[in-house]
């Protein structure tokens, strides 16, 4: 069916999903951590909005709940925590430029195409208009993973991880109108705990290697295990 034939709500959903995808790109490209956090918050907001709109479209209470959870968690709580960490670690000005921006974005684009190709068979027997959102969400997940691969900042990696979570949420919302409540809660709880732990780790890493550059976390590489001693334990 053509886009025009869709009800307004669905059109809005598609638009928001597209913006979510764009936010994923932005997150990937954004080198300044502070800005990246903001982008991440926006992405969360978009996902929450999608959930809410679909709830409105389908009248499924479940979706409102997940929208609320997302809003609370991804838009408010986690960005706030990241902010605090940023300040405590004095990283506000910290930038984490990509090694090969052009290449990365190219790869990202390729991944989007791939995601669409993979999701096509999955989507094609779903009859709701929002089926292609599945492809988008898959793309967001993969882009999050890509971000974790290309970013050297631990904090950026966490953002990538959270972005993947967003993608998952998007998928759940778009394809299945949300998971059962208990699962939603469980996932949210896990994400929250994970975030707390991340915070703990930032501090630990910071005072162990005095930076958050994950590439410097490589003394366990087996080649070292082969030849030299690890430094004596305190």
């Amino acid at each position: 069916m053509s886009l025009a034939a869709l009800p307004l709500l669905d059109q809005a959903v598609l638009v928001l999903a597209a913006m979510a995808l764009f936010s994923a790109f932005a997150l990937l490209a954004q080198s300044r951590l502070l800005a990246a956090i903001h982008v991440f918050a926006w992405q969360g907001l978009l996902v929450a909005a999608v959930a809410a709109l679909m709830g409105a479209a389908s009248g499924d209470v479940n979706l409102y709940v997940s929208a609320a959870i997302t809003l609370a968690l991804k838009v408010l709580l986690i960005p706030w925590m990241l902010h605090r960490l940023l300040r405590r670690l004095a990283l506000e000005r910290q930038a984490d430029p990509l090694a090969h921006p052009a290449l990365t974005l190219l790869a990202a684009a390729a991944i989007v195409v791939f995601a669409d190709w993979v999701a096509a068979p999955v989507a094609q027997f779903e009859h709701s208009a929002t089926r292609n959102v599945i492809a988008i969400s898959l793309a967001v997940v993969l882009l999050g993973l890509l971000m974790m691969v290309v970013r050297r900042q631990a904090l950026a990696q966490v953002l990538g991880f959270m972005a993947m979570e967003n993608g998952l949420l998007l998928a759940a919302v778009a394809s299945t109108h949300g998971m059962p409540l208990v699962v939603e809660l469980g996932v949210a709880f896990d994400v929250l705990v994970a975030m707390v732990l991340f915070g703990v780790f930032f501090l630990q890493i910071k005072d162990s290697i005095d930076s958050l550059d994950v590439d410097r976390l490589s003394q366990l590489s087996a080649s070292i295990e082969q030849d030299e001693e690890p430094e004596p334990r305190p």
Partner: protein, 491 residues
């Protein structure tokens, strides 16, 4: 039902309790007691299932497949607790590597880990399963970095990130599964209940199931330690406290594999009528073989004793995945048995390794020498453990490998040479490291430590028993599980 509660939620009770308990010495005992309670519950549960068959209620499902894993988990949890009490006391009081807060964290998280494991095994809801497995990561990740050394922190970070990512992929798979289910199920039905899904599996949309399975495989496979997703495993094993390594190898990997197999069952059923019926099995086989071969090579020229044995865990996980992938009653039976014996053997080995590292005061293999002179019990424990893990009869691992080879010889004869080659390389790698540690003259200034070899003796005795004669009840369970997974049994 009460048995389930006793088995699963006793540890949950332990989490806050031990977190608040100030006295480390007492905490050790409490930890032990709770594990014992949980084991009692598990045994009761087992008896119940043995008598009344599959038990599914209140979102739990305990059938032949997971009941023996529940017992195993509770058992290993207990024996490891027995070991960890003196061990952690030594670390805390003698070595001063962990403070009082650390000890509280340790004991509380130990129970938390057990809880997640048991929950993951007993739940019927795939979503909860996911939550539990993720919870297991969260519970253990802080324990890996318990010693706060840079290496430990690094290991924990890798563990955290990689497993987090993997588990996220698994969630996507779960969502896809749910998505597929929703198109078959009437509204309101719980599309994540495994029982429900299994009932309607043949109608699930193959194309969706394939994608879902890939995500689930990669996701849970990361936790199983399938190559090339295994990188976190040696680090986490080698840097965490030894009891953690024992339960990680003995339990976590098993539970992850359990999840994968459950998903495979659904996928197989869904793909039965499609163009590629054996796809899930083939993927699993491929992963298993790759894992196995990579791991056996990595067993050579190791310097860190715990890394050595973590690679051996990877190797055996590969074998099990291969076995489940081959499918068919014989291979599946072998893989199920292998899960059991490997868990027992490997945890006993890690217990011994813990003592060995205390004797030699290092994890560097070339500095551990002449254990059999310094402390014969530890030396023999290590030697026999290694012999068992290398697949020498009359230990049980030989039995499962024997069956696995036989099954492969029937189904994929041309793959057997690879397996055999791998087993030989593994044996060589293990013994070329283990033999010098056990035999030879002891270096000066190496003294025996207070070691509790009871868990080791117990585990090895069980493995020996399984190698000589499998008890009827267990055989029955395994056979039921085989029926469940492959549709046909052996007995």
């Amino acid at each position: 039902m009460m048995w389930i509660v006793l088995a699963v939620f006793t540890p949950l009770l332990g989490v806050p309790l031990l977190a608040l308990l100030p006295r480390a010495r007492v905490a050790g005992w409490v930890n032990l007691g709770l594990s014992a309670l949980s084991l009692a519950g598990a045994l009761g549960l087992a008896a119940q299932v043995l008598m009344h068959g599959t038990l599914a209620a209140h979102g739990f499902r305990v059938d032949a497949f997971n009941v023996y894993l529940v017992v195993l988990t509770a058992f290993v949890g207990l024996t490891t607790a027995v070991f960890s009490r003196p061990y952690m006391h030594y670390v805390h009081a003698e070595e001063k590597r962990v403070g009082a807060r650390g000890m509280r964290l340790y004991h509380s998280m130990y129970q938390g880990f057990l809880f997640t494991m048991l929950l993951a095994l007993t739940t019927d809801n795939l979503g909860i399963l996911w939550v539990a497995v993720e919870g297991a990561t969260l519970a253990t990740v802080l324990l890996v970095s318990l010693y706060r050394t840079p290496a430990a922190i690094e290991a924990a970070w890798k563990y955290f990130i990689l497993c987090g990512v993997g588990i996220a992929q698994a969630l996507f798979g779960t969502v896809a599964l749910y998505f597929a289910a929703q198109h078959v199920l009437p509204a309101g039905a719980n599309g994540l209940s495994w029982s429900t899904l299994y009932a309607i599996a043949p109608q699930l949309e193959p194309r969706v199931m394939v994608v879902a399975f890939v995500f689930l495989l990669v996701g849970y496979g990361t936790k199983v330690g399938l190559v090339p997703l295994h990188s976190w495993l040696p680090d986490a094993h080698s840097e965490g406290p030894t009891p953690m390594s024992a339960v990680l190898s003995g339990l976590l990997l098993n539970v992850a594999l359990y999840a994968v197999v459950r998903m495979k069952m659904l996928t197989d059923a869904a793909l039965a009528s499609s163009a590629t019926p054996g796809l899930a099995g083939h993927l699993l086989m491929g992963f298993g073989l790759l894992t196995f071969l990579t791991a056996v090579i990595s067993l050579h020229r190791r310097r860190d004793i715990k890394r050595l044995f973590s690679y051996s865990s990877i190797e055996h996980m590969g074998l099990m995945s291969f076995g489940f992938g081959v499918g068919g009653p014989l291979a599946t039976f072998a893989a199920l048995l292998h899960m059991l014996v490997h868990a027992l053997t490997k945890s006993s080995i890690f217990v011994t390794v813990g003592h060995a590292t205390h004797i030699a005061r290092t994890q560097r293999i070339e500095r551990i020498r002449g254990l059999i002179r310094t402390q014969p019990a530890v030396g023999w424990g290590l030697l026999l453990g290694v012999a068992a893990i290398a697949g020498f009869p009359p230990f049980g691992i030989f039995t499962s490998e024997f069956l696995l080879l036989a099954a492969t010889m029937q189904a994929w004869p041309w793959l057997t040479p690879l397996l055999v080659l791998g087993l030989v390389v593994a044996c060589a790698g293990l013994f070329r490291s283990a033999q010098p540690m056990v035999f030879g003259a002891a270096p000066p200034g190496q003294y025996p430590v207070r070691a509790n070899m009871l868990p080791v003796a117990l585990h090895l005795a069980l493995v020996l028993l399984l190698g000589i004669a499998i008890p009827a009840a267990l055989a029955h369970w395994l056979d039921q599980a085989t029926r469940l997974i492959t549709g046909s049994g052996l007995l």
